[in-house]
Amino acid sequence: MKVSYFPGCTLKTKAKDLDAYARKCAEVLGVTLEEIENWQCCGGVFSTSRDEVATKLSSVRALKAANDKEQPLVTVCSACHNVIKQTNHQMQTDAEFADKVNRYMAPEAPYGGETVVYHYLEMLRDLVGFDKIKEKVVNPQTGKKIAAYYGCLLLRPNKVMQMDDPENPRIIEDFIRAIGAEPVIYASRNECCGGYVAMESPELAKKKSNAVTSNAAAAGAEMMVTACPLCRYNLVKNGSEIPVVYFTELLADALGVKEDTNA
């Protein structure tokens, strides 16, 4: 199976291992990630102002590139996924916006949001299948108590993201089960880590961050997994009492390819 792949800026800098493990695991699972040529930053934050076009063009380019190859587009970073999926949704539903974008980009055939966007987790669930992953696990993470951390961007807004129930998600828990470990359910798993105010109000960010990690630890977790580089950075920087790792790293470990991944 071949899919278009949008790594995003952070995965080339701060979160290189998130990217490297994602690629290696995909290989093992029989998925070829074809990195989009000359991709640009997703824009970082999805602007909710309706006349904002410029910051969304890079996302549309990535979507269009995948569409040209008739492939679904796979993302890993929660923030990139959020921006790209929301932009795609706006292309599908906001005719005026789509028209503006198409006039500006002047592609051969206009783009109308046809590309299907998958987060890497959704790819594991819907394209590969957690049962298949279970079969490929050579190093089951038996006995590990792992807390899934969703953060704020991965699941919301639910009407657009359509990944999982934002209040009662289970996709990462199912992933944790698939690799043989035990998920720990705790209340703050879908709360914001405070990353968005890290510059403006570091104290508040620290408070939010610590609330999440201490809640997970109190619920008995020995480790947290996340898909979001900003969450991980923020949780670790603010002194999480338990390790916070990317889900791809854990997957690589379970699939037995962690050591030979050059991160």
């Binding site: 129930d165 209040e167 009662n168 359910i185 705790y186 209340a187 703050s188 709360e191 609330a211 201490s214 809640n215 109190a218 619920a219």
Partner: protein
């Protein structure tokens, strides 16, 4: 050839405002068969009806067309008029020129054109109408009440009071339902058990009432006045007529670790149990999922200690068949599961409970003997947060909650908050609400007392998150009026879970061919004018199976349902609907298609001898319709491949004539 009179009604300005009634009566005067045509301001009035009667006599009419409102409104009226004038009532046709014409059109010209067309269709049909005579069927003078909560209890008592025998079928080992689990009842705060248990005893002692507890209805056949019902009586492994309810078995039973459903699993019971002290019937029941004797043949303690010798490990499920004239559905409600509302941490902390669990915690017969102790550590909670509308009015989350208002939560939450503050003045009590809805006699006063006299903190806004931390529950919520985020460290969080119909309601509705709405509440025959009748004749609705209801409303409705049942059972014979299917035996080839599509089981087959043209005798299989069971739905007439099946009063030829008249 018929002699048809046409009567066009103005309905004041309801019809005449958008339809030129004079033009309609003029146009229809020239239709085939019409010998008289007129219009009048209110055809349904006494004067209008007299006009019809006079015209019948004067013009020797054989058929009548009334162009007026929906036949649901006045078909019966005009049929009676026809009968009084000496015409068969089924020679009357209504052309609905109000609901289907004047009310939906604004333009006089198009409205008039359509009214004429509808009138022509009715005239074309009457030309082919034949006089019909309804059959009669007897009435079995016994009622069945399904569900033994307060709704079923009240209905049964009222029916029995009128002298008719009633059977209550209750799936639990005791009657009493949800009300038996409640502590106090709003708005008067009398204890639920004190007002319910005397009624339960009345039921037990009433010689007109039989209770089938631990039983369920598994099959319903027949029709109004003549239902054949199969009741499955589950084996309780205790002989009901011998058990004295002494409770020795429950004390000695070594298996004591069974979650007690009466206390919502907050404590345990034994494998042989009596649900609560005032249970009716007060008879023990063995839970086969936990009893060691039934599971692996080792134990038998209850049998040894039972002085009456009531234990019978070999008891089997029993099927009882009984005939009933009327069936009352009183299957009640349940709180919805909180599994999908993890934001309130119901599955993460024992101290997040539902309101029904709170009732048990404050009930003297509950797991804490009425002391308000939080389930995790049995400590007295100081800060208590009540969250209303959990899963109610939930249009954004229809897949996990309910779109409707559960109606009872505002009042019971006010009750819980008030009683908590009354008994434990050291507590801080918060109630989060979307709206406070407390209409009802003495209801709003009750809620205001909670706020004004008992100092309950009512906060408009919803709780967004409950995070268990240490022995506290961190509640994050919004105060919409102050436009502030609130953080409360609570000891106990109580969720007012939405209520939904009992799961047994849907299969029961299928058995009864009674209709339900999308939320599985039973539909009433008319939302305003026939609120306790199901559209299926002979099936009546009592209590929360029809929609969320509090106790006063349930009891009123239960009484109303009983009075409808009494009205039915008081009749010796029921007049049937003559518009039923019949099969032309010369055209029927016995293919069974009609039997397969009939939703009422009205069609059977018989072998009949026919004299053939060559004077030989042939035996052929033909369809026979039971007119008492047939509801006249017409499915068979459409399905019949040979055209043998036809519906009286709505014959294929009549429908085609109507279509032809419309398309002409």
């Amino acid at each position: 050839m018929q002699r048809i009179g046409v009567f066009v009604c103005w309905c004041g300005s309801n019809i005449a405002g958008t339809v030129d009634v004079q033009a309609v009566s003029d146009a229809l005067a020239h239709e085939p068969g019409v010998v008289f045509s007129t219009n009048y301001q209110y055809m349904c009035s006494q004067a209008g009806q007299n006009m019809i009667k006079d015209a019948v006599a004067e013009h020797k009419l054989t058929g009548i067309v009334v162009c007026s409102c929906s036949p649901r409104m006045h078909e019966a009226t005009f049929r009676k008029t026809a009968a009084a004038a000496g015409i068969n009532p089924y020679m009357v046709e209504i052309a609905n020129i109000r609901e289907q014409c004047s009310w939906v059109h604004k333009d006089m010209q198009t409205g008039t054109e359509k009214a004429i067309i509808l009138g022509k269709a009715a005239v074309a049909k009457v030309n082919l109408n034949t006089p019909l005579t309804p059959g009669e069927s007897p009435v079995t003078k016994r009622a069945l009440v399904i569900g033994g909560g307060i709704a079923g209890i009240q209905t049964a008592l009222d029916i029995a009071d009128a002298g008719f025998p009633v059977d209550i079928v209750e799936k639990k080992p005791t009657i009493g339902g949800k009300m038996a689990q409640l502590d106090k009842t709003f708005p008067t705060l009398d204890c639920a058990a004190c007002i319910l248990t005397p009624k339960m005893v009345d039921v037990a002692q009433n010689d007109k009432i039989r209770i089938f507890s631990y039983s369920e209805v598994t099959d319903v056949k027949g029709f109004v006045g003549n239902f054949d019902v199969t009741i499955k009586k589950h084996a309780r492994y205790v002989k009901e007529d011998i058990c004295t309810g002494c409770g020795a078995c429950t004390e000695k039973c070594p298996m004591k670790k069974v979650p007690n459903e009466f206390n919502l699993g907050m404590d345990n019971r034994s494998a042989i149990y009596i649900p609560f002290a005032q249970a009716v019937p007060k008879v023990a029941t063995i839970d086969p999922n936990y009893c060691n004797m039934l599971k692996n043949g080792k134990c038998g303690v209850c049998s040894k200690v039972c002085a009456a010798g009531a234990i019978d490990y070999t008891q089997k499920d029993e099927f009882i068949e009984e005939k009933y004239g009327a069936i009352v559905v009183a299957t009640g409600f349940n709180p919805i599961s909180m599994d999908k509302f993890d934001e309130f941490a119901y599955n993460q902390s024992k101290d997040v409970i539902t309101s029904l669990e709170f009732e048990r915690l404050t009930n003297a017969a509950g797991p804490t003997a009425g002391k308000l102790l939080r389930p995790s550590d049995l400590k007295h909670p100081h800060t208590i947060v009540f969250v209303q509308c959990v899963g109610s009015r939930c249009d954004a989350c229809a897949e996990k909650g309910k779109e409707y208002c559960s109606k009872i939560c505002c009042m019971y939450t006010a009750k819980h908050a008030m009683l908590t503050r009354d008994k434990y003045p050291d507590t801080e009590v918060y109630v989060f609400y979307i709206d406070v809805r407390t209409p009802g006699k003495n209801f709003d006063e009750f809620y205001r007392r909670a706020v004004e006299e008992y100092g309950v903190h009512y906060i408009k806004g919803m709780v967004g998150k409950v995070t268990p931390e240490g022995d506290k529950l961190k509640v994050q919520a919004s105060d919409l009026l102050a436009n502030k985020q609130l953080h409360i460290d609570a000891d106990l969080v109580v969720l007012a879970a939405a209520i939904e119909p009992d799961k047994s309601a849907r299969p029961l509705a299928t058995m009864l061919t009674a209709s339900m709405d999308t939320n599985d509440f039973f539909t009433e025959a008319h939302p305003k004018l026939r609120p306790v009748e199901s559209p299926t004749a002979g099936v009546f609705l009592s209590g929360a199976c029809q929609g969320p209801k509090d106790i006063p409303e349930t009891v009123s409705q239960a009484g109303a349902a009983a009075s409808k049942v009494i009205g039915l059972l008081a009749k010796d014979k029921l007049t049937g609907n003559p518009c039923v299917a019949s099969s032309n035996e010369l055209m029927c080839n016995g293919c069974s298609t009609c039997e397969r599509v009939c939703p009422y089981g009205a069609i059977t087959y018989e072998n009949k001898e026919f004299r053939m043209p060559d004077r030989t005798t042939a035996i052929r299989r033909i369809a026979v319709v039971n007119p008492a069971v047939c509801q006249g739905c017409g499915c068979c007439t459409v399905a019949c491949p040979s055209g043998a099946m036809d519906l009286r009063g709505f014959a294929n030829s009549q429908i085609i004539a109507e279509v032809d008249a419309i398309c002409k």
